[in-house]
Symmetry: C2
């Protein structure tokens, strides 16, 4: 079951020739979640050969343009390509007004159902849940209302232990029940407990997306033990004052959140355009938390391969 993140863009403020602002795609068991959607996101999806119609849920952290200016174009393209299936958008309420006004102005009746789910500005909720995953919002501390997102894979069913199935001569049509937790009674009336017939499955994956935010100690308990924390690091540590004034974080602050949260891996992004050499930011963050990587367009993180 894939659990993979693709970085589409990780710049801040404005698109450039080499990078677009924030956009990421999370593939959970072939369900595609888009997280933020800066201008140019749909072209990045083309570049990385991802069919935009596969996206079913879009999460927008906040209404600064570098996190959503590509969304109306993406919706429009889904429509022009004849999409029929539902699209769900999770964002602060004004985005609904913006989308509605733009659709009305172009006299567009979308070819597909669009469901808008407003994100609370002051409460942490479950935004989405299905049989495999749960998505919660995380209140961040930025200059306008801003949410991070926590993607929590649900506990997986135990795996069949084939050796035991053979040993106890269990018929094939009973396997689903055993996967669901059933014990087995053999012909002599002996009960074989489920934990003998099955093996523990992989630990569920967890991904925390946290941008834009100033340094926020409260974040630590929320992102505790995730496999991957994406945390903005707009500035180097020498610009801590500027970071605080603008509602952003430094490399060192991002690494502190990761270290105290005991996450497996930290990915930093949302770099200020003043930095030509991003390795300087990486080195600084790695001083505080060794297992740090730089976000870059096209980077794919396979959660199965994350080691702490």
């Amino acid at each position: 079951m894939p659990f993979k993140l693709t970085v589409l863009g990780c710049g801040s403020a404005v698109p450039t020739l080499k990078n677009i602002p924030t956009a990421q795609l999370l593939n959970v068991n072939e369900r595609f979640f888009l997280i933020d959607c800066g201008e140019g996101t749909q072209v990045q999806l083309k570049k990385y050969k991802i069919n935009l119609q596969r996206i079913t849920h879009i999460f927008i952290s906040h209404l600064h343009g570098d996190h959503y200016f590509g969304l109306i174009g993406l919706i429009n393209s889904m429509h022009l390509h004849g999409r029929k299936k539902e699209l769900h958008i999770y964002a602060h309420i004004n985005l609904k007004k913006i989308i509605d006004l733009q659709l009305e102005s172009s006299n567009t009746q979308l070819s597909f159902p669009l469901f808008f789910h407003p994100i609370s500005e002051d409460k942490e909720d479950i935004l989405f849940e299905d049989e495999t995953i749960l998505v919660e919002n995380i209140l961040l501390n930025h200059s306008i209302s801003c949410s991070g997102f926590l993607f929590k894979e649900k506990t997986k069913k135990r795996k069949i232990n084939n050796n035991k199935i053979i040993k106890y001569n269990i018929p094939h049509d009973k396997l689903n029940g055993i996967r669901d937790g059933a014990d087995w009674m053999n012909s002599t009336g002996q009960i074989i407990k489920n934990d003998i017939l099955t093996l523990p499955n992989n630990k569920p994956h967890r991904y925390a997306f946290c941008t834009d935010t100033k340094y926020n100690f409260d974040l630590i308990k929320k992102i505790q033990d995730v496999d991957l924390l994406y945390h903005e690091a707009t500035f180097k540590e020498d610009m801590k004052k500027r970071a605080d004034e603008t509602g952003h974080s430094t490399t060192t602050q991002a690494s502190e959140i990761a270290r105290n949260g005991k996450v497996k891996m930290l990915m930093i992004g949302h770099f200020s355009q003043r930095y030509m050499n991003l390795d300087e930011l990486l080195i600084e963050a790695q001083k505080g938390f060794k297992n740090t990587i730089l976000a870059k367009p096209g980077l794919i993180v396979d959660f199965k391969e994350i080691v702490s």
Copy 2:
């Protein structure tokens, strides 16, 4: 005095890896007019090394996304880069609501004065005028209110004929008056008429931008004799019915407008993405009007060099 058009994008509907939707830049005597602003326009400006702060006036033909989805990002970038000088936008009124709502949602107070000039939906007006140029809207025939734009350079002052100035021994401080049309009286009381002292200047340039529109015979008299007509040719002639249904034109229809309008040169664009080989569209248009060129990103048309 430059009068040059740069094509930034000429696709239709959605941006691709090779082209963005409509956007053009017209340089009239170092005054920069942006015409339409599809998603990705600001990156194209970077690509062609055009400083976005030089743009002072933006004309948006209509509120289909492929003609304006890049605008809010461009405005935002001008703001983030600390622009101080005025920006004037000419568009249908809903665009003002869209921009205002987006600025309000991000709690942005622009660093520069933004003036919005609504375009009439049913009347042809002068939109802009200064000492060198006049811009008028042209009512087009599309599925929603849509305006073309006619850029008309004003008649230029006659040029000083240096040989005559020497012959009649005219002092330097009188030359401005002669440029403005004054005659000259020499010491014997003889009147030397202005048309002896001056030479005719170049003919004023004219550019007509017409997209999106279905075939519209009325257009011919409005674009009569322009140097360059940009006319959409979304489809080849075999898709005439589809063009008509969707409010678009074919190659042959664009060439008919150009031929009957006796323009010097026709540029076609807004090509449907179904066409892989655009030369097929060019060949078809050239059958109706020989001096036709294809729009393409990066193409610069210098009006001084246009020959019919």
